[in-house]
């Protein structure tokens, strides 16, 4: 039995529900629930772009765009960014209006680990749409002193 198999079986044997990552995803699910309430989140319309490989998690450029006509009656109200692997999954929330013209935003965020990042768009008709992107982080944010 190699070391990895041993560690795994030990974890199973001890009955721990285990990987820390699972707990973090649960946190993110909670964060998402706080944003959307009991509404359904559909997939699509939201495109999130982050580099697939990030050398330094302290400053990661991300671009989010939502398909929307951005008219007075049909526009994007808000876009929320949730990072599943961060100690605090909420990263940032943008509040737009019909006067934004386009629902495209670029910013720089921190990533604590290799993970999936979700972007949730809140439309003016009350519906929620989601897009996500996964990335590999070699040096995590909040690691250094």
């Amino acid at each position: 039995m190699n070391r990895r198999a041993f560690v795994f079986s030990a974890a199973v044997a001890s009955g721990l529900p285990s990987f820390n990552a699972l707990g973090e995803v649960a946190d993110a699910t909670q964060a998402v629930e706080k944003i959307v309430g009991n509404k359904n989140v559909s997939r699509g319309r939201v495109t999130l772009v982050i580099p697939p490989l990030v050398e330094n998690g302290n400053l990661v450029t991300m671009k989010v765009s939502v398909e929307s006509p951005m008219t007075k009656t049909d526009y994007v109200q808000a876009i929320h960014i949730v990072a599943e692997g961060n100690p605090l999954p909420n990263v940032v929330s943008f509040y737009l209006s019909a006067r934004s013209g386009r629902a495209v935003i670029t910013t720089r965020i921190r990533l604590g680990d290799s993970q999936r990042v979700r972007a949730i768009a809140h439309m003016s008709d009350g519906s929620f749409w989601q897009g996500d992107a996964s990335t590999l982080v070699t040096i995590a944010a909040c690691a250094e002193v």
């Binding site: 302290n58 400053l59 990661v60 909420n90 006067r99 720089r108 965020i109 909040c142 002193v145």
Partner: protein
């Protein structure tokens, strides 16, 4: 007076009516996440910018809620429709009485 810091706003000085203009904002701030520790193991307290607001002739057009997951020196690129000539005001507020603001003029033809 609370804390303040340098800000930088890049946007066109003029635009045609109905054009979508791109606004790029950067503000100097460490965005101390509250998750870091010093060498002696003490937690460094959280100190971040919490809100950003952009108003166009006193009407809110864009607002952001920031959390510790935002990178240091928060940079955001967003857009707005040029509706009329006037003033765009940019305001940041944060922990420990932090506040910064700046304005830009836009000429709409």
């Amino acid at each position: 007076m609370g804390k303040t810091s340098r800000t930088l706003v890049t946007m066109p000085a003029s635009a045609k009516k109905g054009d979508i203009i791109e606004i790029r904002i950067i503000v100097q701030h460490d965005m101390e996440s509250g998750f870091r520790h010093t060498e002696t193991g003490q937690r460094v307290p959280r100190d971040i910018i919490r809100d950003f607001l952009c108003t166009y002739n006193d009407i809110e057009v864009f607002r952001v809620e920031l959390h510790p997951g935002m990178g240091a020196n928060p940079m955001i690129i967003f857009t707005t429709v040029a509706t009329e000539s006037g003033t765009l005001e940019f305001k940041w507020t944060g922990d420990d009485g932090y506040a910064s603001s700046t304005t830009s003029q836009l000429l709409v033809t």
